[in-house]
Symmetry: C2
Subunit: 147 residues, 2 copies
Amino acid sequence: MNAPEDTSLTIGRVAKLAGVGIDTVRFYERRGLLPEARRSAAGYRQYAAGTIDRLQFIRRAKALGFSLEEIGTLLDLQDNGGSKSAVKAITARKLAQIDAKLADLSRMRSVLHNLHQDCSGAGNVCGCPIIDALAHADDLPLPELDT
Amino acid sequence: MNAPEDTSLTIGRVAKLAGVGIDTVRFYERRGLLPEARRSAAGYRQYAAGTIDRLQFIRRAKALGFSLEEIGTLLDLQDNGGSKSAVKAITARKLAQIDAKLADLSRMRSVLHNLHQDCSGAGNVCGCPIIDALAHADDLPLPELDT
DNA sequence: CTTGACTCTAGACCATAGTCTAGGGTTTAG
DNA sequence: CTAAACCCTAGACTATGGTCTAGAGTCAAG
């Protein structure tokens, strides 16, 4: 569906076709996300067209918030016929992380939004509600110390 | 309101009272968030009680998403009588950044949520909608290449 | 045959916000 | 007086995801 399945691509070509940098391809190989490539007589890496798909898998997974380590796990599950439940569990965990981040950002947003509205923006910093909130925080609780 | 204003605190005390690590205090000093401390004869840093407030200012600002560099700017504005409009501009910029992150995370969340619901979680990875979406993405667009 | 474009390696470097180490000196309680 | 607890410095190290460098070898076009 893509290219003759035995085409041999150089690293520059595969990187360009997948939309990543050459260094990124080598970096992913070191991280185990790509198998070690076949080599030409001169030691040049040779890639099959499928490598482009694999690189795009990684790009899409990154766009969903997965770390490279998590992506490695997902690729393993794909390569070695893991279970759907394992994939689903990773997804559920990521969803929970994202929900936690959303909650945190929403809290920040709401505080900042209020402060921003309260500040006239006129005159010097004395009495600025934003600075005051940071400085005295009768109103801004100190963040928890993570223990 | 806090302690006798000429009390001299050691770094360990000021760190503990502010709820940060000793190394963090020295690190903030290097970064210019704290002025260089007075020193005792033996070279020990000596802090006034106000340093606790300054460290807590930093903690609160961090909790609102400001970077140390931004916090440095805010502290400068506070120290040197900057304008409210400068403070307000920094806040507006941060608000915009947070909104952008929220939008990005919401997009991820919605895609992941749909994929998670579509996946039965039963059987092996063949046909797993999550893996399929990452692998073939008729449905998941590749992220933009940032140019 | 030469030039330019491409590739190879190991290892350094970027940002962020600390955290930890080694190898010393100081202070304080008993 | 001694030992514990504290403090000092410079510099290395953590995690994340690359990105860049130097110095060398290879490939394709003219």
